[in-house]
Amino acid sequence: MMRLVALAALSVSLLAPMAAEEPVSALQLKAAFLYKFTIFLEWPEAAFADSKSPIVIGVLGDKELAAATAETVLRREVRGRSFQVRSYMWEEDIEPDVHLLYLSPGADHGEFIGRLPKARAKAPHAFLVSDGEESVLRGAHLAFTLRNDRLQFLINLEAATAANIRISSKLLRLATIVDAMGERR
């Protein structure tokens, strides 16, 4: 995505390219990923109050990411739904209508593990995103990893299915699928 922004002059024939003024930071890239995940996810009907209800992205423990994500989803819609981005400091604050929840692993990975069940309980429809392979094994639905300096992700399909969230195969193709046992597919 960095290249995307870096390149300037666009052909007349290629109309209205995505505008980008400055190099994309790792934060912005992560925020963009969070937004893009929503495109390939499908929540149960019960997750929304009505057909116009926004997709709510919650960011726990990372205000900067929350701000970047809010900026990313500004004036964007997916399947006719607009976005709400909420930043949480504590897991007790997490609201039940959150659809995608990013859990910052923080400095102590153990703390994060402890937060995960609480968050799942607080927001039962949320697609849980975190960092590191470990988090996926512990119950996160998707985890970012850095491989060869490229931001990639692992998906625990089992867990997501259990949360009644459908993940598009297009997304699955790009991800490394892992199950609770840590096996990869």
């Binding site: 290249r3 024939s13 290629l14 109309l15 399947r79 193709r173 790009l174």
Partner: protein, 655 residues
């Protein structure tokens, strides 16, 4: 287009129609082909757009996630999945700024790089090997990149390239077929119009308005034919009317002309009649004058003659009368028996000469009055002279005169046998009278005079003063013979008259003391035979036979009608006729000849028939019939010289 029609004006209707049909069908075909190609290619592009569009949409949706998450490796992997799709030549995914994000092409086409995005148009792009479809990849209203999908349509393109030669080939086939069809079809139109045109040409060339266009056509052609025929009928009836009018005019003119001519003719005839009447009046006047003169001179001659002759007639009678009185008066003159005999002899001599004189007078009179006609025949000269010599032979012998007949044996003379012999006799007799013993009388043909017999003697000759008057009736030139013979003095004039009646002449050449030569000259005219025969070969044969008889003129006629025409021109000495003739046959011809007093004495030999048995019987009938009609002889065919010549000679040459 108008150029083509101007150019085609020099062509026949047949070719023009063919050309029009062909051009029309070619144009229609070209338009149809164009429309076909247009629809075919637009359908092709539509279906191609649809097919490529679907493929591009599917591919885009497959790669959109990879594009969104910047996973080129995965995108390339996804594109590989399309390698199996038929005809896919290239799939290129561009990112939002136009950089190549992912690329697929079949493994064997390693030279295929991604086209630069600047050169691409949205939608269908025609490429070197086929068509490419370019569309944006959008997610949730955001353009995240472009997809370029190229399909290999080499075959299709090849097929399209074949359209031109295929079109040309079809055009050729259509043209040929069209030509054949149009050639047949146009005959329906041009055949009838061509026939009409030809008829029109014929009509104008031959001016024959009886001609009609024949043909059972409907609609315009039928109307054309009917109109043309109606036009011809009109012209014809107008022509007829004109001709009738012209005829009337011509007849009127002719009538008037004839009337005028008749009036003219009548006037002319009247004029001529009058002139002829005047002429004949003058002629008769002239004739009367001549006759008057002749009559006067003849009367004078006769008067002299009568006074001459009457003396000759009276003198002997007076002598006889005196003798008779002496013999009667026995008492006065006592005559001895010897004296009596002498007296009687004198009386006899006087009466004899008296009788001779009277006979001669009668002859002359008859000759002059035309009671004696000349009937010419061929005579043999030598025997004729010989028989005249015989008449004077005793007389000549007694006087010691030689008679020499130098006339050649083959001499033929055309003359009246009796009168001509009389002339010769007179001349010979005359010579005997004046010649003395030792003299010679010679008859011969003089070399220098044709048709002439000369009677020459060596006697005393004729005194010059007498010579010119020897042949005159009114001047007595006679004298006593060498033995004291007397003569009537009428002999030479008589002979002269005979020869003139023959158309010939009697002349004398003499010098006193040197004998005299009389020349008996016949006219040059020949005997003539008319041959009436329709078959040229037979005519020629008869003519040849006749010419073998002597120098005879032969004239020919084909039948009785022509023969009668000939007879108006001349009088033949013999007619030789066949019986079976056109127009007028031999029987009718003989009947006509014998019923005309002008010709009834011309001898006729019939030449016909011939044969044996039944034919001989027919021959006999014919013979009987022609003799009854008045024919003189009948000769059966085939003619032979031995048979024909003696028979013909009988009439030309009496023995």
């Amino acid at each position: 287009m108008s150029g083509v029609f101007r150019w085609s004006e020099s062509m026949s209707l047949r070719w023009r129609l063919t050309l029009i049909i062909m051009i029309s069908s070619l144009v229609a075909m070209t338009v149809a082909m164009g429309v076909f190609i247009y629809f075919d290619s637009s359908y092709f592009r539509d279906s191609l757009r649809k097919e490529l569009g679907v493929n591009a949409t599917i591919a885009s949706s497959q790669v959109e996630a990879a594009l969104l998450f910047d996973d080129a490796r995965e995108a390339n992997k996804i594109l590989q999945g399309y390698g199996a799709a038929p005809h896919i030549l290239r799939i290129v995914i561009y990112d939002a700024v136009g950089s190549v994000f992912a690329l697929y092409h079949p493994p064997h086409l390693i030279d295929l790089a991604a086209p630069r995005h600047e050169s691409l148009q949205m939608g269908i792009n025609e490429t070197e090997r086929g068509y490419a479809y370019v569309r944006p990849i959008e997610v949730e209203g955001e353009r995240i990149g472009w997809i370029y999908l190229e399909s290999d349509q080499t075959e299709l393109k090849r097929r399209q390239q074949w359209y031109i030669p295929a079109l040309a080939g079809m055009a050729l086939i259509f043209s040929l077929t069209g030509f054949l069809f149009s050639f047949r079809l146009q005959e329906a139109v041009s055949g009838s119009i061509g026939a009409l045109a030809q008829l029109a040409r014929q009509v104008s060339r031959e001016q024959d308005y009886h001609l009609r266009a024949e043909g059972n056509y409907s609609h315009e052609i039928g109307d054309l034919y009917a109109s043309f025929n109606a036009m011809l009928s009109q012209i014809e009836s107008q022509n007829e009317r004109l001709a009738r009018h012209a005829d009337d005019l011509a007849r009127t003119v002719e009538l008037r002309t004839a009337e005028l001519k008749e009036v003219n003719e009548n006037l002319k005839r009247e004029l001529e009649d009058r002139r002829a009447a005047e002429e004949s009046l003058r002629e008769s006047e002239r004739k009367i004058n001549i006759a008057l003169k002749q009559a006067v001179s003849a009367t004078q001659v006769k008067d002299k003659f009568v006074s001459l002759v009457s003396h000759d007639l009276r003198s002997p009678l007076a002598g006889v009368l005196g003798m008779v009185e002496i013999l009667r008066d026995e008492t006065t003159y006592r005559l001895s028996p010897a004296e009596r005999m002498t007296s009687l002899a004198k009386i006899h001599g006087s009466l004899s000469s008296q009788l001779e004189l009277i006979n001669r007078l009668l002859d002359i009179s008859r000759l002059q009055s035309g009671n004696i006609e000349i009937h010419k025949r061929f005579l043999e000269g030598r025997p004729l002279v010989m028989s005249q010599f015989e008449r004077v032979e005793m007389f000549a012998q007694r006087k010691g005169i030689h008679l020499v007949n130098d006339v050649p044996a083959d001499t033929r003379l055309l003359a009246d046998p009796i009168l001509y012999a009389e002339v010769i006799y007179n001349l010979v007799n005359n010579s005997v009278k004046f010649c003395a013993a030792g003299d010679t009388i010679r008859v011969y043909l003089p070399d220098d005079r044709p048709h002439t017999l000369a009677v020459s003697d060596t006697g005393p000759g004729i005194a010059a003063p007498f010579a010119p008057n020897l042949f005159r009736h009114d001047i007595r030139t006679t004298g006593r013979g060498s033995a004291g013979e007397t003569g009537t003095g009428l002999g030479l004039p008589y002979c002269h008259d005979i020869m003139r009646a023959h158309g010939g002449a009697l002349t004398v050449k003499s010098q006193e003391g040197e004998g005299a030569t009389f020349y008996v000259t016949l006219p040059t005219s020949r005997m003539s035979v008319l041959v009436v025969e329709d078959i040229p070969l037979h005519r020629t044969l008869i003519a040849r036979l006749v010419e073998m008889i002597g120098d005879i003129e032969v004239r020919e006629a084909e039948d009785g009608v022509e023969a009668l025409e000939r007879l108006k021109e001349y009088r033949p000495d013999l007619i030789v006729t066949d019986l079976l003739l056109p127009r007028m046959d031999g029987y009718a011809f003989i009947e006509r000849i014998r019923s005309n007093p002008q010709y009834d004495d011309i001898p006729i030999i019939v030449v016909s028939g011939g044969g044996e048995g039944e034919e001989a019987e027919v021959d006999g009938h014919m013979r009987e019939r022609v003799f009854t009609l008045g024919a003189n002889d009948f000769v059966s065919k085939p003619l032979t010289p031995d048979d024909f010549i003696p028979r013909a000679r009988r009439f030309l040459h009496p023995v």
